[in-house]
């Protein structure tokens, strides 16, 4: 099995590319010297930010037909999850469901497609709002929320994760290959360029790869999907590459030690927000990652991007542009936190996961991996490098209205007035006493 990238890499190492020259050539072109990307799971933009002010959210009056082949009625209106008798579930998000929901661009099959999967299709029209996503909404208020960030492919996790690292779809489509994945990734390019990188994996089990996935417990098999490098032989066999795939605990150590790599990808485990798991635990997870970055010396030269790998079967009202046979898929939530991120901006730039690659390639002078990332817009539209970096300010977990600090301050004028009146009373009484004393003395002197 030939592995061109691996061979090139070995050749580069063997012939000894001058380190300093490479480092200079591939130094960061912007103040962002560290890019951290976290890929969460399975939500659409409308599902998370459909009611966010200023964003392209759920249109007024929308009502999704239960069966679009039989007309517009009956239909299901968007609803806040938990307010109807709809059981939270994991909406189906296979490629066939995508096609039924997409319906040739009519976007009217969201309920029906799930009903055909024996699910309660109404769940597709459920949404979360600030009551549920206080931290994320607070983040959006302070940093940049993208409302035109599409999943790269009209499929599920596997294909989108491969787009995330390679800028192209795997030959096997939306399923993990049992024979390994042959694709060049951004990490190969970074390795060749001498740019530091790491793939942090929460609850990382190094023995769990595409080779062992059939024996893995179902709740752990997602590690191979969410970390596509574990499906590529050279990243399993070459210690110089494999050593970059580490447990998430190293993220905190790297922050403490000031050794955060230039490019860091993070794959979650439990708190991935994959429905129907807790979105609160996901927010806590993201808050911990972001807070730790803010607490570190790396903050002033970093950007932290959170995205969601696919739409998860949820409703989204924006028709995705068709850029090739794979995508785009529906919009997903995405936001970036950085001292260089613009303040409280909703960015309307059309992006997908390869836009992350495009930024990496632009910032560290790396050749594009594929047509998709070469043509993609960069996530850099979120940044304003002309302004000085913003100080780290932790984003509250609760919305401003619910926080203690929102209490109004009392007026201080009455404090001065009332206490001044008290002091004036004493002065007046002392004056009265002094006058009385003087009068008595004079009266005494006159009496003598």
């Amino acid at each position: 099995m030939r592995r061109p990238a691996f061979v090139i890499l070995l050749a580069a190492l063997a012939f000894g590319v001058p380190q300093s020259a490479a480092a200079e050539k591939h130094a960061a072109q912007t103040p962002v010297e560290h890019l951290v990307v976290l890929m969460q799971e399975n939500h659409t933009f409308d599902n998370y930010f459909g009611l966010y002010p200023g964003a392209d959210g759920i249109p007024a009056g929308v009502c999704m037909p239960v069966d679009p082949t039989k007309g517009e009625k009956p239909c299901v209106t968007p609803f806040h999850i938990g307010t109807r008798d709809v059981e939270p579930t994991d909406p189906d998000h296979s490629q066939s469901t995508f096609e039924r929901q997409y319906r040739g661009g009519r976007l009217d099959g969201f309920v029906h497609a799930l009903n055909l999967r024996n699910q309660d299709g109404r769940i597709a029209m459920g949404y979360y709002d600030e009551r549920d996503l206080q931290f994320y909404w607070n983040l959006a208020r302070q940093y940049v929320l993208y409302d035109r960030f599409f999943s790269s492919a009209q499929g599920g996790s596997t294909v989108n994760h491969v787009f995330w690292v390679a800028g192209k779809a795997p030959p096997t489509g939306d399923r993990v290959s049992r024979t390994g994945l042959e694709v060049e990734t951004i990490f190969d390019r970074l390795q060749q360029a001498g740019v530091s990188w790491k793939f942090y994996v929460q609850n990382y089990d190094p023995t769990l790869t595409y080779r062992t996935i059939s024996a893995a417990p179902p709740n752990r098999a997602s590690q191979v999907t969410w970390v596509p490098l574990l499906g590529i032989d050279r990243f399993l066999d070459d210690p110089r590459l494999n050593g970059h795939i580490v447990d998430l605990g190293e993220y905190y150590k790297d922050l403490e030690n000031g050794t955060l790599p230039a490019v860091a990808y993070i794959a979650p485990s439990g708190p991935s927000e994959h429905p129907p798991s807790s979105i609160q635990s996901g927010q806590t997870f993201v808050r911990t990652l972001v807070n730790s970055l803010m607490q570190s010396t790396s903050w002033s030269s970093s950007a932290f991007l959170v995205a969601y790998d696919d739409w998860g079967g949820w409703y989204d009202h924006v028709k995705p542009p068709q850029v090739d046979k794979w995508g785009y898929g529906f919009r997903v939530p995405a936001f970036v936190v950085s001292p260089y991120a613009r303040h409280g901006v909703v960015d309307h730039t059309v992006l997908d996961f390869t836009s992350i690659l495009r930024f990496v390639e632009d910032n560290w002078r790396i050749r594009p991996l594929a047509q998709r990332d070469a043509n993609a817009n960069s996530i850099a539209s979120a940044f304003d490098f002309t302004a000085p970096p913003r100080d780290a300010v932790m984003i509250p977990a609760r919305s401003p209205a619910a926080s203690k600090d929102a209490t109004s301050s009392p007026r201080t004028g009455p404090i001065y007035v009332t206490y001044a009146v008290g002091l004036a009373c004493l002065v007046a009484l002392l004056g009265w006493a002094a006058i009385d004393r003087t009068r008595r003395r004079r009266a005494g002197a006159a009496g003598r």
Partner: protein
């Protein structure tokens, strides 16, 4: 008992033509000389008082109580950074804080707050002179002022941003005005005393027992002509002025704030044993001062007048009350210091005369009492060494430095947990980060309503709502249980010491050693 000079000074010596005779000129010269000597001596005493109250005033940062009052004053001034942590209406009336806030308009440095407090302290020393002179003579006034100037109890407290310094100033003024009433029998002095009492209450509401002292004085003094209506009018003035306390929050648009504090203060659990005041306060006042004052009670018992009744009342009532009141604080008995100083001075000045020992004995006695007391004060105002701390006795070593490190090196919006609420206050004041004490009870009946408990600290850290834990040796000494609890979270949540403040401590063999007093841990789930 007025002296000869005071007698001379109180009468205009003229003949029938209005011309001043040669004898009167001589008397006037004596009076002038005494006035010059008195003024010069008093200026020296005031200077000494100022030196002891200002020397290295800023060497150590605020303690917990100080940051609360300074924080309130800053909030009144409109310092936005502190307002979220220190609401204006939190506990106690706001007379001192309002005065302080006027100075904070120029600068909110620690030294400004303490200098204002020290100013009240020096003014109290001058008032003690007036009190001693009006009740007895200028010599008693001068000696009393000297004892007050060097008294560690008053020196230490008036170097801090505490309410007790201003309270003692106004209570001394009240006693002085009651004395003027005793001498003149004119009700206007009683009204003025009511006004001063009102301001005493507006300094700190616990001084309400000054009303009890005044009542005891008037009730036990048979030779004063007191009309009931004058007494009621004086009390009405005091109560009317005190009404400013509950009225102000209503006018300021915060009617429900601060009300629960007094209730909690009345019914909170005892924090010290019954012997606390007997072991702490006499030493702080100066054993010599206390001994001489008590000696005078016996030696001069035959000379007892309403003057002594006034002084006894203002000493005994607070002692009895605070001894019976379960909640005890080091500085609560400070208002007894001025009358005690006057009593001690009276003994020093009058007892030798009664015994026929002469003026030199008084000078020697003054020296014997004042010098050790002054040395004790000098010792007390040196920056503390050690990792233990008694509330009200001074600043907290390392607290300001740790707080400022937090402000500089932790992201805005970081949240912290400390062992107790005292360090939480300091972290909030200097660090501008929200901090809560583990030791704050989740039961509202068992906690200061100004504090927020952390009902589930484990969850708070696990949820990353809290990112830092702050250990301090002072709280650890008082609450070993909560210290262990805090350190268990440090272990459990990847705690890493990111900052340590140290202080010098004297070891058992007399050597100076460095010991950590505050450690800031960064934690994450």
């Amino acid at each position: 008992m007025p002296s000869k000079v005071d007698d001379l000074s109180s009468v205009e010596q003229t003949d029938w033509t209005g011309h001043v005779s040669w004898r009167d000129r001589a008397a006037s010269a004596v009076i002038l000389r005494h006035e010059v000597v008195t003024t010069a001596t008093l200026a020296g005493v005031a200077t000494l008082a100022a030196v002891l109250r200002l020397w290295r005033l800023d060497a150590v940062g605020y303690n917990s109580d100080e940051v609360v009052y300074a924080g309130q004053a800053a909030a009144i001034t409109g310092v936005d950074d502190l307002a979220p942590y220190f609401p204006v209406f939190r506990a106690h009336p706001l007379l001192f804080q309002a005065v302080l806030s006027l100075f904070y308009r120029f600068d909110t440095a620690d030294v400004v707050g303490r200098a204002v407090s020290a100013g009240f302290g020096v003014a109290t020393v001058l008032l003690v002179f007036l009190l001693g002179r009006s009740l007895y003579d200028r010599r008693v006034g001068l000696v009393a002022a000297l004892l007050m100037a060097v008294m560690p109890y008053h020196v230490v407290v008036s170097r801090q941003v505490l309410l007790d310094g201003p309270t003692t100033f106004f209570s001394t003024l009240t006693i002085y005005l009651l004395g003027r009433f005793g001498m003149s029998q004119r009700p206007v002095w009683l009204y003025a005393a009511g006004g001063a009492m009102g301001l005493t209450l507006l300094s700190k509401e616990t001084s309400v027992l000054l009303i009890g002292s005044a009542y005891a004085f008037l009730a036990l003094t048979g030779d004063l002509r007191l009309r009931l209506r004058d007494g009621i009018a004086s009390l009405g003035i005091a109560v009317g002025m005190f009404a400013i306390y509950p009225l102000t929050p209503v006018l300021a648009g915060a009617p429900k704030t601060g009300n629960a504090y007094l209730v909690w203060q009345l019914f909170r659990r005892p924090n010290h044993g019954w012997s606390f005041y007997f072991t702490e306060v006499p030493v702080a006042i100066g054993i010599g001062v206390v001994a001489v004052a008590l000696l005078g009670v016996w030696v001069l018992r035959s000379r007892r007048t309403w003057r002594e009744t006034l002084l006894y009342s203002t000493i005994v009532v607070p002692i009895v009350f605070f001894e019976l009141w379960p909640v005890k604080g080091f500085q609560y008995l400070l208002p007894i210091a001025p009358p005690l100083a006057v009593l001690a001075a009276r003994t020093i000045v009058q007892a030798p005369a009664v015994r026929g020992w002469g003026t030199k004995t008084a000078v020697v006695l003054t020296t014997l009492v004042a010098v050790p007391t002054a040395l004790a004060s000098w010792d007390a105002i040196q920056p503390p060494q050690g990792s233990t701390f008694l509330a009200g006795t001074g600043g907290v070593p390392g607290g300001r430095e740790a707080g400022r490190w937090i402000a500089r090196n932790t992201p805005g919006g970081s949240q912290m947990i400390t062992i107790g609420p005292s360090m939480a206050n300091i972290v909030e004041y200097y660090g501008l980060r929200q901090a809560n004490g583990l030791a704050v009870s989740p039961n509202p009946l068992h906690r200061n309503p100004a504090y927020d408990p952390v009902p589930n600290p484990d969850l708070e850290v696990r949820s990353n709502n809290v990112q830092y834990l702050v250990w301090d040796a002072y709280s650890a000494g008082r609450s070993p249980f909560f210290e262990r609890k805090l350190l268990s979270y440090v272990d459990r949540y990847n705690g890493r010491a990111v900052h340590t403040e140290t202080t010098s401590v004297r070891t058992s063999d007399g050597q100076l050693a460095t010991e950590p007093v505050i450690v800031v841990y960064q934690v994450h789930p």
